[in-house]
Amino acid sequence: MRHVCSIKGTSSECSEVITCPFWQPLRCMSSFPPTALPSVVCRPGRQQSTGPSEPGAFQPPPKSVIVDKRCLPGQETRFLSPEFIPPRGRTDPLKFKLERKEMLERRKVLCIPELYVGSILRVTTADLYASGKTSQFLGICIQRSGSGLGATFILRNTIERQGVEICFELYNPRVQEIQVVKLEKRLDDGLLYLRDALPEYSTFDVNMKPVSLEAGQEVPVNKLKVKMEPRPWSKRWERPKFNIKGIGFDLHLTEEQMKEAQKWSQPWLEFDMMREHDTSKIEAEIWEEIQASKNS
């Protein structure tokens, strides 16, 4: 059987060779290993009762119960979701405390996993007008914005050659499940340039199986350089203010054009002391609040 992969252009290759009688042995260009077991504890479920079996007869393997370890209460992840950190301003810290209290209470009910820009997620929401009253959407997270209860993330996918982006709210009560299908980071904090990239970079199989990560492994960084559509783009991604490392500019821009783009660079910005904002104290307070709410 030919294994159809919807993701191309990745650097990794799996080592397995699929052979079958009618085709040449194929190298499977897939980005995830076929042995897709999520970070699990595989417990044998109910045994198949097949009656008196012969010693050489085929016995189907016992069904395993898949449990996603990352959302269990015992897991220690020192990842502070960015919407907990309040934006800079003259707001009373009491207001942020109240918001964080609400957010932590919601997190006790719904498991919101750690997600980065570049990870592939599947979100199940309650929808009044869908059959079965729920709708699912899978896509790559291209942006995370907002702080506090109104924090959002945008998922992008291509469905029947039409690019679709949906902005979900993390703390909306209609969100029933957020499942991280593939946890990884990209070279940039925002992947809005995928709108101007070739559609293959935004296409993901809707029925993708979750990819496992070892418990102690760090989040992998996908150093993919994306190929773009011919210019003009929706934004001038080559300019230094966007600071994009994930586009292969050498295929689309000449050296002269790159030099021209550097004219808009602002090298004094990194030395600007008024823009410095140390959040370590606020983060320490927030961790204490999280610990206190976990214990209570």
């Binding site: 009373d92 109240l98 918001e99 209470e105 309650a126 703390y171």
Partner: protein
């Protein structure tokens, strides 16, 4: 030069005036208030003649005294308050002065998202009572003061903002007791008045919403101008014509805002929509005067909420019946 702040204390016969309306020269209050340091006439400030070590000491002393004064007024029963009269149709009760903290999303049980403003009631006390005849002949007035300000402007515990609430005679409260957020209940509608954010001098497109002119098609230097300001026959410009000028920093009211939730412990009111003013600004909150919500205060604490008089203690959070709380499970449409 800083503006004048009020000198108020409940239970004593002190003149009370609304803030911001004082002229530069005023007769000093009578009799026993001799320890007032008034700025402006002398040109001195409170720590001019204090040595450096004494400044933090005096600050600490003063803040302790302030706390004692505030705490002592928490029990109106010590002062023999006026009798509580029952509600009658057509009566209106006091409002509150609150601080605008910020805004937050809120979801209802059917999955709709609304935005709420948090208003915190900090040290709101009833400060003065003016009877019907003294005020304007129709209704009595109660002065309520908002956030406590620094006492180094004046001698005693002043309030940062004092507002007048016109009340009917059966809703009068003796000056003294503090007002709490539980004075309002979820599900009722309020009007909120505040000073809008000042924008300075603004053009007509922002100030009055004019459309301006197109960006292209031959327009010479005319993209945000008013165009014509009057007709030809009148041969003058009507007074009051909309023109550029100072915008904002004016008292405005938003009517008919629903109260979704009340936090009795921190005295915070969650009010639907937006409210005039910037964050940490003081606003005046009162029961809605819209005809749709007339006689709404039937089931509300009248004349106000006294925590020590009521036997039942209110829970920490009071919600409207449609509000979805974070501890509830996710919404499903069955």
């Amino acid at each position: 030069m800083r503006g004048w702040r009020l000198l108020t204390q409940a239970g004593a016969q002190v003149l009370g005036r609304s803030s911001g309306s004082l002229s530069a020269a005023l007769p000093p209050p009578s009799g026993n208030r001799t320890n007032i340091c008034l700025r402006g006439k002398n040109g001195t400030w409170w720590d001019e003649h204090l040595s450096e070590e004494n400044v933090p000491f005096v600050k600490q002393l003063v803040s302790n005294e302030d706390k004692v004064q505030l705490a002592s007024k928490l029990c109106p029963l010590q002062d023999e308050p006026w009798p509580i009269q029952p509600w009658e149709p057509g009566s209106s009760r006091v409002g509150l002065i609150a601080l605008k903290l910020g805004m937050m999303p809120l979801w209802t049980k059917d999955g709709q998202k609304h935005v709420v403003t948090l208003l915190q009631v900090q040290d709101c006390h009833v400060v003065k009572y003016t009877s019907k005849e003294n005020h304007n002949g129709k209704m009595a007035a109660l002065h309520a003061g908002g956030k406590t300000a620094s006492r180094f402007q004046l001698g005693l515990l002043p309030k940062q903002k004092v507002q007048i609430f016109r009340v009917t005679d059966n809703a009068v409260i003796k000056p003294g007791p503090p007002l709490y957020a539980a004075h309002f209940r979820p599900g009722q509608y309020v009007d909120v008045t505040g000073k809008t954010i000042g924008k300075g001098v603004e053009g007509i497109m922002k100030r009055w919403g004019f459309k301006g002119q197109p960006a292209t098609h031959g327009q010479t230097k005319t993209h945000r101008r008013p165009g014509a300001i009057s007709t030809g026959d009148v041969a003058r410009v009507w007074p009051g014509t909309k023109m550029p000028g100072r915008m904002g920093n004016v008292a405005r009211t938003t009517y008919g805002l629903k109260v979704w939730r009340i936090n009795t412990k921190l005295n915070i009111i969650y009010v639907n929509g937006s409210v005039p003013g910037h964050k940490n600004g003081l606003v005046k909150v009162r029961d809605s005067k819209l005809p749709a919500f007339k006689d709404f205060c039937k089931n509300l604490p009248f004349p106000t909420y006294f925590p020590d008089r009521d036997e039942e203690e209110l829970p920490e959070d009071l919600y409207d019946k449609n509000v979805w709380q974070s501890s509830e499970p996710s919404i499903t449409f069955a």
